[in-house]
Symmetry: C2
Subunit: 239 residues, 2 copies
Amino acid sequence: MEQTCYLRHIAYDSVIFGFSGDKLKILITKYHNTGLFALPGGFVRMDENLNDAVRRGLKERTGLDNIYLEQFYTFGDVARFKPEVMKTILEANNFSTLNYEWMLDRFISIAYYALINYKDVVPTPDVLSDSCDWYSMDDLPPLMLDHSEIVKKALQNLRDNLERRLVGMNLLNPLFTMNELQRVYEAILGEKLHRGAFQRKILSMGILKRHDKQYTGAANKAPFLYSFELSNGAKLEIR
Amino acid sequence: MEQTCYLRHIAYDSVIFGFSGDKLKILITKYHNTGLFALPGGFVRMDENLNDAVRRGLKERTGLDNIYLEQFYTFGDVARFKPEVMKTILEANNFSTLNYEWMLDRFISIAYYALINYKDVVPTPDVLSDSCDWYSMDDLPPLMLDHSEIVKKALQNLRDNLERRLVGMNLLNPLFTMNELQRVYEAILGEKLHRGAFQRKILSMGILKRHDKQYTGAANKAPFLYSFELSNGAKLEIR
DNA sequence: CTATTATTGTCGCAATTTGAGACAATAAAT
DNA sequence: ATTTATTGTCTCAAATTGCGACAATAATAG
């Protein structure tokens, strides 16, 4: 983690979405001894693709490879330059600000959102953080710098892309019921959808493969399980 | 243009769209004595917002303020790091590579697209370029580095945003006919649209104000002129 | 002044998509 | 066997879209 290792002035932040208990959640880290909450982020090595840097960070935080990842905006206002904040974090961790002076510079942050299966993840804090935990989108702690704005824009982008790309299933198990999928869509869009119309629409797209029924033990008709599968050689991008 | 003035490793590129002769066009600059074509780009000052840097560059290139501008992607692959190219440009302009060594570093580029009224612009080359001219999207010269990819992605984004935001009119005069607007949409989407359906749809959105007719001298019914105007307090963002 | 021509604003109709409710099927409990 | 909750599917109305048609009209030609 030396100065020469990373591109100066460049950082990334990631909004990592998961779905649990009918709620859309994201991963938030908390820095040691500071009470500061932040999005998981990191820096780009000199010899590393930007996208690869983000995937590396995601791997460290979630243990997952092959995550659905989307870049959505780059934040570059001068107002986000607040060296005191970074200084606080470094000092709270007994990092000499001499060696890490480059971290006190102005940064531009490229923001990504990721969709992962909540169950697959054991959130792991990094060196500076003492926790990395899920928070419901409707119950986030106050975030440092402009991270609240980043989250807001991430959700906005996810919603916009929900129909065009077919990303809902990335938040679920490989096998899921129609009801689970609908609840994911409802959590993302923040509104109730009509069951019949939703089922009809999704099925008409021909991207789901139907499997055996799921017998949950509940006293009612068992739902089919589905997996995401392009039957014909259809492209992922709709339209 | 000294080293200390700009943020290292950070550049922007802009895809500036105009509409003329039923064609969608963009501005391309050509560097002195090199035969290299590129998108208009620039750097971010230490004390300057990223978005402001782009607007500053746009102002220099087009003379226009208040341009419709959209950030769409940040390109950060290592593969775009080709110091020879920049060196060629600097040497062709008799710029000492000593003073401009920072320009030979690896850069991450934040890409924007702009929509402007073709007629309003007198394209102006910068210090390093000997021309800044319009090129039809279907007849672009070979562009340096990954600039062709940037253009491709810009068009893709513009198309995706065309319905959601109502951006077509930014390429036209304040007063325009329905036919002109349709031709803009067709140029962007790259397909013919049905006249009746287009008119009905646009008018139903209630965002156009109808003005007097335009008597062109042609032997046919004169079309109405329209301007873009939100009648009720509607938001620009649709949906 | 009348006929012609090209283009415009608008309408009608069929086809398609969407919203909302209804109903039979069914897995498990009573 | 009956009840309960949920599922898959259907029907019908409402809204949207694709496509052609028609009258209106600005200028020109005769």
